[in-house]
Symmetry: C2
Subunit: 286 residues, 2 copies
């Protein structure tokens, strides 16, 4: 496995892979790799001739007072995981490589960036869109892999790819969960053992919503209120948002119909967790 | 010459050219081609195996009350000029191809976009950066050609290329002028004959500044005031700005030193003209 710390090294390796006729897959990560990331790497390995994993804790997607400083950076372990899963190239740049002095270009995906997590984290998705576009331009992948856990991120990146006429395909892979249902996240390690125990409430509540919708509940407010009441009843949990939104616009729907995203963000102390499910309701009965 | 109206047609032709080992040159234009554009096309023809000219009056770089509606669109003549100059592909998309319904992704080059023309035309350079990035992604050129007349645009595109890690080289070509010195512009045709006559004042004033600087004048305020007084003395001319700025930051300098841009914008009725010169002063004498 090649470990690249510079853009030039990445370009050289990718050009060499291309010259061998290999397709290029990119898995952009912030490191602290877990089984969720590994599932992305596995998909990339299955579908691409040359697999690139980027490991970069992107400072521009963290707001003031967020966890940029304490975000885990176990680089040696991350590289081991990449190697074990037959990654061809790991790209682990310093911040100054990605954002040299005088950096000043930003990508904004209007409306979508301001909803859901964007409402609580102003500037977050601007940082995400910008760094992902940079990584796309550096690696020039044929396929890029994202997790469904970050559903809004995946939606925004898809919009950016379409609007900016990027020539690559996105693959959005299912959420990987702990045995008790907690969605894997690098931030789970911030939780103390009581918080960790209560954190399963997100998944439990979302599955209750799924069952209620399967039983025919179409009133989005009822589903949202179910989420809110379950989180309210969870010790140490503070609801940031619970939303039932259209998959395309990410705007709240009144009735559950078509492709709908049920998403929530919950804080346990200073740790912010997100989770979601998708509902696919072919037609509205009445 | 291929005339493409869709992105798919461009991609097909460019891929075919690439497969023949040709380098790709892009000349982005808004049409109404004049000798300034032709000089860009000639440079591209000299340096690239496959020359693409885009002809697109980009609505997103026009502000409310600007000249989007009346901007000239002599497409047949433009295509003839392209053909005459051995362009391989002319790309003339409708606005709906470039900005389909639901479009919402924008590129911003902070600070640089707000200075000089950006101060009078809010949103202009956001539109420029966005459409140019889209054209880059559609055509994927090795080289792209811009005119020095739009000095701020060239500076902003250069910043965007660098910041977003685009793999192409920019060529910025000298200003082409009428015999009396007026910089060529598609907007010159808006001028009535008296305005056209007085419009040479921009060039005359800039050349006076050049001579004064060559004689040793280093006080930027003196140079700026010379420009302002010459425009003030020109019938029908209203100064928008006259600026002596650092070539890199586009911010005003107090003393002329290093690479300096002397730029101005002047309105004749509803027609806005711009012009500039570069000064290169190796060391400051004193």
């Amino acid at each position: 496995m090649i470990v690249a710390y510079t853009i030039e090294r990445v370009r050289l390796a990718v050009a060499e892979a291309r010259s061998r006729g290999l397709s290029i897959g990119l898995v952009p990560t912030m490191g602290a790799l877990h089984a969720g990331h590994v599932s992305l790497i596995r998909s990339a390995r299955r579908e691409c001739g040359f697999v690139v994993v980027s490991i970069f804790v992107n400072p521009t997607q963290f707001g003031a007072g967020e966890d940029l400083e304490r975000y885990p950076r176990p680089l040696t372990k991350d590289l081991q995981i990449c190697e074990e899963h037959h990654v061809d190239l790991a790209f682990a740049p310093e911040a100054g490589i990605m954002y040299p002095p005088g950096y000043r270009t930003w990508v904004e995906v209007h409306e979508l960036q301001d909803l859901l997590c964007g409402a609580s984290r102003p500037g977050h998705f601007r940082g995400v869109a910008t760094v992902v576009l940079k990584l796309f331009n550096i690696v020039q992948p044929d396929l890029a892999y994202f997790g469904q856990k970050d559903a809004q991120q995946a939606r925004i990146i898809r919009q950016m790819v379409q609007d900016l006429n990027l020539q690559l395909r996105l693959q959005v892979c299912p959420i990987v969960r702990e045995p008790d249902g907690l969605a894997l996240s690098s931030r789970n390690q911030y939780l103390d053992s009581a918080q960790r125990d209560h954190a399963r409430a997100l998944h439990v509540a979302l599955e209750e919503v799924r069952k209620l919708a399967e039983k025919g509940e179409r009133d989005a407010r009822v589903l949202r209120q179910l989420l809110a009441s379950r989180i309210a009843a969870t010790p140490g949990a503070v609801l940031d948002y619970a939303a039932v939104v259209d998959m395309e616009t990410l705007k709240p729907v009144a009735r559950v119909k078509g492709e709908v995203l049920v998403a929530m963000a919950v804080e346990f102390g200073t740790t912010r967790l997100i989770d979601n499910i998708r509902l696919s309701i072919a037609t509205e009965e009445s």
